[in-house]
Symmetry: C2
Subunit: 287 residues, 2 copies
């Protein structure tokens, strides 16, 4: 094929994928080329704009590290992550809804006992939480692995604090007890901006978008026989619930963070300042 | 906006770009989100596939360096580069056609006099070339800057040879003389595979595509009053003219590389083995 022009090139490229051994990969590449070319034609992308796109993608890749995933952040802020989540979690009525995974999960969170303080020294108001994990019939899910992570009161995840080295804060893995419950102390979540010191931050600034996420706790819950659930619990009355920069808010995930009366706290510790309690039920769908 | 689902998310994301100060950026982001979401919905991208896409893009960014541009290679192999070129070079009849820029241009090529050997020791058969640069009326373009670059007979550009350090081979910048001509010695181009040791190579392998480009010389020609021309001259009778991995071949750019009779060569040097001559006219469009 020679003399390809702007009208014939899409078919020419798709034809080149004709021999892809994996049918699903062929479908994905065909769809990708079709929509990528339609986009370029529709906006009539100029060569300087193409160069800028190449630079943007390169910078985004080079910003990624063990503790920073700028392409996930890009996917999140373009709504692609939430779209993938929505497409793949047509969950049965009654099950807790999923939301985005985000770029700050790590695989090496500490495994903690019931009642642990996952904050581990991170700044923030104390949160005393009890979460009950049940199936669609309300029966406890025993021994479920609950992976929790959150930002601290300064809006930072531990992986965003180089001074911590390999030490982990404000994340941990607990397992539900015989009643399907976990109890833990954490931090009252606060709204925070996604990182704005990279290409995605420059995109948000250039497009007049704010970088804020409403306050939330992250959960990933895994148990044999159940669909893995990646979700958040959002703090009620947060000012960003209707403008989450990553489009992740679902009404059903907004939880009541109850201001706690004076100490002693639920776990017996003395809490001087403000604190909250959280009681929430999470319903897993079958695998 | 809460409770966004797979049908409402696209409008929700586009609405977030409503306050983009730059109207063109707003148009591009709107088009990007529309087509990106359409793609994800059409193929119903799964979460493991999304993770693979994030990894692929990250790896592509991290493969980029001062001498390697894997995102340009990705754009080239998906036909996006040639599409952008085609959209932006609706040149007048008679003008030489443009093709892709490619990932191997450098800004620090040596400035060379008429008759120079741009090969500078790179392996390959000698090519004795004379290129005439004219306007649409056939009048010589005097003092045009002609930036030339090519792969050597082993299929490598100088920037792909770490052993060269900062030394440049098989590239150079010449200026047309009073008759609009440049004369130079170079290498007879040979077909070569694009780099396959990175993510783009893995994509080509997984999709059953060959990585070959037909033999060519790169040109970028700049002269006051004329549109900058980025193009190739392809070698006639190359086996990959109809399956260029980057979709860059135009019939009008296929040139006759004439086997040269025995030495002495055009420039007086003695050539023991096979060599070629090339005589080509390039027509610039007005700016």
């Amino acid at each position: 094929m020679r003399n390809i022009d702007e009208h014939t090139i899409t078919e020419a490229v798709i034809a080149r994928f004709a021999d892809t051994p994996d049918a699903r990969l062929k479908q994905i590449m065909t769809g990708l080329v079709t929509h990528l070319h339609d986009f370029i034609r529709e906006v009539k992308l100029t060569e300087p704009e193409w160069e800028q796109a190449i630079r943007f993608l390169t910078d985004t890749g080079q910003m990624c590290s063990d503790t920073r995933q700028e392409f996930i952040l890009l996917s999140d802020t373009l709504g692609a992550s939430m779209l993938v989540t929505a497409l793949n979690h047509a969950h049965p009525p009654g099950a807790t809804e999923a939301t985005v995974f985000g770029p700050f999960h790590t695989d090496n969170a500490p495994r903690l006992p019931q009642g642990a303080d996952i904050g581990a020294g991170a700044p923030g108001q104390p949160l005393f939480a009890e979460v009950e994990v049940v199936d669609l019939d309300g029966r406890p899910v025993v021994g479920a692995e609950v992976d929790l992570w959150q930002a601290d009161a300064e809006g930072l995840y531990d992986v965003q604090r180089p001074e911590l080295g390999a030490r982990r804060q404000a994340r941990g893995v607990l397992h539900t007890d015989a009643e399907g419950r976990i109890r833990f102390r954490a931090l009252v979540p606060t709204p925070y901006p996604v990182p704005t010191d990279g290409p995605v931050g420059r995109m948000l600034l250039a497009t007049g978008r704010h970088p804020w996420r409403p306050a939330h706790l992250h959960f990933r819950i895994r148990a044999p026989g159940f669909a893995t659930l990646v979700t958040h619990l959002f703090r009620d009355a947060d000012p960003y619930l209707d403008s989450d920069v990553v489009f992740g808010v679902r009404s059903s995930l907004i939880a009541r963070f109850e201001p706690q009366p004076a100490s002693p706290a639920q776990d017996g510790s003395v809490v001087d300042g403000p604190a909250c309690t959280l009681h929430q039920r999470i319903v897993l769908a079958p695998a």
